[in-house]
């Protein structure tokens, strides 16, 4: 158990090359689970390598339990890592792979056997212990890579996309196991994933990265409902948030935006308060579940024609065109109209977000109650 803090961490792979990490600021408390998400090539693995000490940082400091470890060698940092590429030792059996770190650290034999047993059982690889990595499937190799890290009890775990190669069922199982294990061991963990559900369910905190800059750092709920900018809003959530270009009209305190389809139009009132929005190019962000079928007697209703339907099982996704943009709504399957049918949509305007079309930053929402302003702590972590 340990705290982990990154202070203005910078990393460049060589003079002349662009910075891979820029002023990374993060702090997670003892036993917290940090999820790192971002598009491919944004620097997630690089950040992990820096924390592990496998790459030198070019600036800033990495603190574990408030002590700067950025000059320490990897083996003294007491960190275990699952590599994105697995990095299993090809000439050793699965058992030897898992044992290797323990043997080097001179753990007594009986305890090693016990740990190997525990990990193998947890990861369902008991029948593979005598095999070499070359004789395993990708998913099996990935579990061995996990086993190698989990056999140790370090201060910090680093997992670089540890479940990416597993089939859907095993993945869900492993996700639950990860959660259980984390609840039991309470080891501080940094976890990279491309999986939305893993990000939302496993993490105590989520950091969204792009081009080596942390776009937003906060709880999964904050990231989901109060995304700092268009990038975060589009990256988190599946299917992604709808972005409808709008130009507000009205005046202070009574801003509204026109929404139009082939079949009708609607002036959607905004909770934007006093801000001067007149004729600014804005983007209205609405999650697919924030559009619903209008009930009888609803006043703010927009008619639209269904263009595409995508039944996913639990929900059916319906696509319509509003203000010239394709918009997705998530409906219950038995309520969903068929293609070509007309439907009436109502909007959860209170949850709708507004973004500046130029900068991509989210406009602060009118805070109805003081408590709601707490999302503001997010902003201070935003990259410059």
């Amino acid at each position: 158990m340990a705290t982990l803090e990154l202070r203005n961490v910078n990393k460049t792979y060589g003079s002349g090359l662009p910075d891979t990490l820029k002023d990374i600021q993060l702090k997670i408390a003892e036993g917290e689970f940090l999820i790192l998400v971002g598009p491919s090539g944004c620097g997630k693995s690089t950040l992990m390598n820096c924390i592990a000490g496998l790459e030198n940082i070019s600036g800033g400091a990495i603190l574990v339990d408030d002590a700067d470890i950025s000059q320490m060698s990897p083996k003294d940092r007491d960190i275990a890592m699952v590599f994105q590429s697995y990095a299993l030792y090809p000439t050793m059996t699965v058992r030897q792979n898992i044992e290797f770190g323990l043997k080097i650290r001179k753990v007594p034999k009986a305890q090693i056997d016990q740990e190997v047993e525990r990990v193998a059982k947890l990861l369902q690889i008991e029948h593979l212990l005598a095999r070499k990595p070359g004789q395993l499937s990708g998913g099996q190799q990935q579990r061995v890579a996990m086993g190698r890290a989990l056999a140790r009890r370090p201060k910090i775990y680093l997992f670089d996309e540890p479940l990416s190669n597993l089939d859907a069922k095993l993945r869900v199982e492993m996700r639950t196991e990860m959660k259980l294990m984390h609840q039991r061991l309470k080891t501080t963990t940094v976890y990279v994933t491309h999986d939305q559900i893993e990000a939302m369910t496993l993490g105590d905190k989520v950091a969204v990265m792009k081009d080596g800059i942390i776009q937003q750092f906060g709880t999964p709920k904050e990231i989901y409902s109060e995304p700092a900018n268009l990038f975060v809003a589009s990256f988190i959530g599946s299917p992604p948030m709808n972005f409808i270009p709008v130009k507000p009209a009205g005046g202070r305190g009574r801003w509204h935006v026109p929404l139009a389809t082939d079949l009708g139009q609607l002036s959607l009132p905004l909770a934007a308060g006093d801000a001067d929005l007149d004729q600014r190019e804005l983007i209205l962000g609405l999650r697919p579940e924030q559009l619903a079928l209008a009930a009888e007697g609803d006043s703010a209703v927009l008619q639209a024609r269904v263009e595409v339907t995508e039944p996913t099982g639990p929900d059916t996704l319906i696509f319509v065109t509003i203000n010239g943009t394709k918009v997705c709504c998530r409906l219950a399957p038995d309520l969903a109209p068929a293609v070509g049918e007309m439907l009436k949509l109502s909007f959860d305007a209170g949850k709708a977000l507004l973004f500046d079309a130029k900068t991509g930053e989210r406009l602060a929402r009118e805070s109805k109650t003081p408590a709601e302003g707490s999302a503001g702590n997010v902003a201070q972590f935003r990259g410059r």
Binding site: P74, K75, A87, L88, T91, F100, G101
Partner: protein
């Protein structure tokens, strides 16, 4: 290509291919056959028949006499070759490991200069080497020859190992470092076990080079310390007495056998090693 698979049996083109292959085989094999046959003949036999006739009487006299003459030099060669091969392979492996996994400032330049050593002709190093050996007090000793061969061979062995290790994912070394392994533990427990094919390539290459070397042997060793290649030359080039071709041939066979043996024992690795890294493993 598909037609070759679909149409088994002897098409004219196949016949041609086989004919050419067999011809090529013969061209390489005939000298060996001649040597073998001659080595088992008596001198009278050699003078009467032609090169390719079987011996009238099968005589091992040539071999016995040849062995008696070159035995000491044979062991000289062993004493030079074995340590030189082992040392150059071991140091080459370590060099390759450092140059691929622990790059230091200027390591590329270092590697470039080392590569240069592969292109240096033997003749170019003769004088500097003899000067150095003299200063080291190793002139005309077996140890001196070992040193020369090790130094000259290092360029090649380093190249072999470095090229193999750059194909090994760096993450392996990173994982081992996190597991707590140090410089030599990573080398010995993780990388060396993976390097068997490369080790074999190095051993075969170095063994062949050093065992067959003549120039260094003739320059840096004298008298009883000479390797078998030099002794063989002296034997064959004697101008006194009758030419004993059976002894010459037997001695040449003795000089050539060890390299043949190494190829037979380790040859399968040679091909594997040369293609290592081509496939993701």
């Amino acid at each position: 290509m598909t037609s070759a698979v679909l149409k088994p049996g002897l098409t004219p083109s196949r016949v041609l291919i086989y004919a050419v292959l067999i011809l090529a085989c013969l061209m390489y094999l005939v000298p060996l056959v001649v040597m073998l046959l001659t080595s088992f003949k008596t001198p009278e036999d050699i003078n009467s028949g032609n090169l390719l006739t079987l011996p009238h009487v099968f005589s091992t006299l040539g071999w016995v006499k040849a062995w008696a003459t070159v035995r000491g030099y044979f062991w000289n060669s062993v004493a030079i070759t074995v340590p030189a091969v082992l040392i150059s392979t071991a140091v080459g492996a370590l060099n390759g490991y450092v140059l691929s996994m622990w790059r230091f400032r200027g390591s590329q330049l270092f590697f470039g200069l080392l590569l240069f050593g592969c292109f240096l002709p033997f003749q170019a190093v003769l004088l500097p080497a003899s000067f150095t050996l003299g200063k080291m007090g190793l002139a005309n000793t077996t140890a001196g020859l070992v040193v020369v061969h090790v130094v000259y061979g290092l360029a090649f062995t380093t190249l072999f190992f470095r090229n193999f290790y750059v194909s090994v994912p760096e993450a392996l070394v990173k994982a081992a470092r996190l597991d707590g392994a140090g410089f030599f533990t990573i080398f010995g427990r993780v990388l060396l076990p993976m390097s068997v094919p490369t080790i074999m390539v190095c051993v075969i290459w170095q063994f062949t080079q050093i065992w067959n070397d003549f120039l260094f042997g003739v320059v840096f060793a004298s008298g009883d310390a000479q390797p078998i290649t030099v002794a063989l030359n002296n034997l064959v080039n004697t101008t006194t007495g009758v030419k004993e071709y059976n002894v010459d041939m037997a001695a040449a066979m003795i000089a050539g056998l060890p390299t043949l043996l190494v190829y037979v024992l380790a040859g399968k690795y040679f091909l594997r090693g040369l293609t290592a890294g081509a496939v993701k493993g």
